[in-house]
């Protein structure tokens, strides 16, 4: 007995020793120059939504390099960006946010592609009195007490639904069915879609919900397309849309397909995954970045993407950094509780319109009133922190290419 106890005690000590080791890992990060302004982002790199993270990271890194290259903010201080993996998990995103807040002392926790991750991290970030910026859609995040610290750069779920109905009207679809994934972003758009369809005299024949990560979607696809509606409103993310599109193609259904940019575009990844034949004839909509503006064209070029690519989320990450540095410059402090009051000052009209962050910083220093327009949206916020003036960009996949159909709002 005595022998085995000794082994136990050693092992316990060894195990406990592992914890401070994690602390030791943290030291180099703390050893950054005191003048740096730390910002953080929680982005998905692994798990079901892992494919959306890298482009957001690329955009955020680019804009940070740009700001630092032009001399930084707050009188020559550099911006330092820390990015953590959300693992597409609410629990992991809480640990990640806590690490950013407590170890890296960030003033902004941005990113947040997924609503569950944002909802779980919200109380942690608000308790620390720091700003949370979102690229997710669930209405609940900006509901309740936000302490004026939350900003959403993406359209809300309840804005996507009616936009879908307007697309249906545009393509002349009266009788429709809905095929939707069970996830917080999508579930919240079904009711507003039904309400808008009723308003424009259409009829929603059936709503088919499916679970994420299914091996096959054949049963659900057949149920939704079975009654031969004029069109099916397919509400997916990327991985399931790839399977669903193949299933629709295989079944030879004639109903039109209207889908979301999150699934049927995903910054071009959908077309790459299924090929032109399967993708032919699918309509999709997404909250539009300012497609025609020179700043957006420049953004696409800097991202190294082909001209005309619609970036749905990378632009949000870009804008999150821009808004933060502009508000800090305006408030003349890195203190989140203070500069959050400057966000609407630099983003909302009135003011001189500007889309280049370096130019905007200079204008703020010169004491000008600016109205910043970003790469992902116009960056105007209502009192809850939701972005206003969202219009949706509708495209049709034709001959292996996204072709513009129009804008609905």
């Amino acid at each position: 007995m005595t022998d085995s106890f000794v082994v136990n005690r050693r092992a316990v000590v060894a195990g406990l020793g592992a914890l401070p080791l994690a602390t030791a890992f943290g030291r180099p990060a703390l050893a950054q120059g005191a003048a740096d302004v730390p910002l953080g982002m929680v982005l998905p790199f692994s798990g079901a939504t892992g494919s959306y993270g890298p482009a957001m990271k690329q955009a955020a890194d680019l804009v940070v390099a740009k700001v630092n290259g032009a001399g930084g903010i707050l009188g020559g201080r550099k911006v330092k960006l820390f990015i953590e993996d959300s693992e597409t998990s609410a629990t992991a995103s809480v640990a990640a946010s806590k690490k950013l807040l407590e170890v890296n002392k960030v003033e902004l926790v941005g990113g947040f592609w997924g609503s569950p991750e944002a909802l779980a991290a919200k109380p942690v970030i608000l308790a620390a009195n720091k700003v949370q910026m979102l690229s997710c859609a669930a209405n609940a995040v900006t509901e309740g007490d936000t302490k004026g610290l939350i900003y959403r750069l993406q359209a809300k779920s309840s804005q996507w639904g009616p936009a879908g109905a307007k697309v249906m009207e545009k393509i002349g679809a009266k009788k429709v069915t809905v095929l939707a994934q069970q996830n917080p972003f999508i579930v919240a758009m079904v009711e507003p879609f039904k309400a808008e369809m009723a308003k424009i005299g259409g009829q929603v024949m059936d709503v088919v919900m499916y679970n994420p990560d299914q091996a096959s979607y054949r049963a659900e696809v057949e149920k939704a397309f079975g009654p031969e509606p004029d069109a099916v409103f397919v509400l997916p993310l990327l991985t399931d849309m790839v399977s669903i599109a193949k299933e629709i193609f295989r079944g030879g259904f004639t109903s039109k397909v209207v889908s979301l940019g999150t699934g049927a575009d995903a910054e071009g990844k959908f077309l790459q995954a299924v090929g032109p034949e399967v993708a032919e004839g699918i309509y999709h909509l997404q909250p539009s970045p300012p497609i025609d503006s020179p700043s957006y064209a420049r953004f696409v070029k800097e991202m190294g993407a082909p001209e005309g690519t619609v970036f749905l989320f990378a632009g949000n990450a870009w804008d999150q950094v821009c808004i933060t540095v502009l508000a800090m410059e305006h408030a003349k402090t890195q203190e989140a509780a203070v500069w959050t009051k400057s966000v609407r000052e630099v983003c909302n009209p009135p003011g001189e319109k500007v889309d280049d962050v370096v130019k905007a910083l200079k204008m703020i220093r010169d004491g000008k009133k600016i109205n910043f327009n970003g790469a992902g949206c116009t960056c105007d916020f209502d009192e809850k922190g939701d972005s206003i003036n969202r219009s949706f960009y509708v495209q049709l996949i034709k001959g292996g290419k996204n072709t513009p159909v129009g804008v609905v709002s």
């Binding site: 136990n8 195990g15 914890l19 994690a22 993270g53 993996d85 806590k98 069970q182 579930v187």
Partner: protein, 306 residues
């Protein structure tokens, strides 16, 4: 840094409770439960739904009771099955729970999840600062579970469970009611998993079906295997090291600048896998293995015999 470590320690406490429960079921009694996450989810949702109605402590008690009841029910149905088949049934159970939670929005709010779950000691926590009070509560819960389960493991009940694990037929021949003992072990484990779920819900204050994926089960098994199957001390060490590994790797990219975040997130999970493989090769019995009695512990030493 301190507040971050507190968060991690609370998450370790949740993982340790789940692990302790699994250690009773699988480590001690040899019952493979791959549906761990289902019982944790039942506990979490019961606590989240009931806490605003009846207060957090009664809600936690109900989570434990409900999860124990489901455990006992599943055990009554399936415990006679042989090891591998029990594993399959419990996997199925875990999935059923997740799908019910996802698809019954009238009860669970479906995919949107439940937000604003009241947190115990929130007012007190604000006064002292941070989550320190909650941490004390979580550690106390783990201590309580540890003492109770360790007591059980040393009691005749625990000895009977070990005997069943090593050879059920022999135990049965010795007059023990194998079936009843197994059901009891399963139910007690279920109760502790329910409490772990409630603690998880109270700490995060937001739960959704996405938090209750099979990875929770995998982490629990990793903790039991890393620590040493059947050893409660080992379990605490195992749960602590797994979390240290998971969170510690977050810091890699802050000081190795050659790797960027995208590569690191893939590398992290790979490193954890390598860590576990190495552990199993170098220390298959676990970090703090179950103490085994030798003949000399029971029989008088031959040299001292007169």
């Amino acid at each position: 840094m301190i507040a971050y470590l507190i968060t991690i320690t609370i998450l370790v406490c949740v993982a340790a409770l789940v692990g302790l429960a699994l250690n009773l079921q699988w480590g001690l009694a040899g019952l493979v439960n791959f549906g761990v996450v289902g019982f944790v989810a039942i506990g979490a949702y019961a606590a989240a739904l009931l806490a605003p109605e009846i207060g957090w402590l009664p809600a936690m008690a109900v989570s434990a009771a409900l999860s124990a009841a489901f455990s006992a029910g599943l055990a009554l149905l399936a415990i006679r099955l042989e090891e591998n088949y029990l594993a399959i049934v419990t996997i199925g159970f875990g999935e059923v729970v997740r799908l019910v939670i996802l698809n019954e929005p009238w009860l669970t709010n479906g995919a949107l999840g439940i937000a604003d779950i009241p947190r115990p000691f929130a007012a007190l926590g604000d006064a002292v600062g941070g989550d320190a009070v909650f941490l004390v509560f979580a550690v106390a819960l783990v201590a309580l579970a540890f003492v109770t389960l360790e007591g059980m493991a040393r009691s005749p009940f625990g000895r009977a469970l070990r005997a069943i694990r090593d050879d059920a037929t022999v135990t049965s021949a010795l007059g023990k009611n194998v079936f009843a003992l197994r059901v009891r072990a399963f139910a007690v484990g279920g109760a502790v998993m329910g409490i772990a779920g409630a603690l998880h819900a109270y700490y995060l204050t937001y739960i959704d079906p996405g938090q209750f994926t099979p990875i929770v089960t995998a982490y629990a098994f990793m903790a039991v295997i890393a620590g040493g199957r059947g050893s409660n001390v080992g379990l605490l060490v195992g749960a602590g090291s797994i979390m240290a590994l998971l969170e510690g790797t977050r810091f890699l990219k802050d000081f190795i600048t050659v790797i960027d975040g995208v590569q690191l997130s893939a590398l992290r999970l790979g490193l954890i896998g390598v860590g576990i493989v190495l552990l199993l090769i170098l220390r298959p019995q676990g970090l703090a293995p179950e103490p085994r009695r030798r003949t000399s512990d029971v029989l008088p030493d031959r040299t001292t015999r007169s």
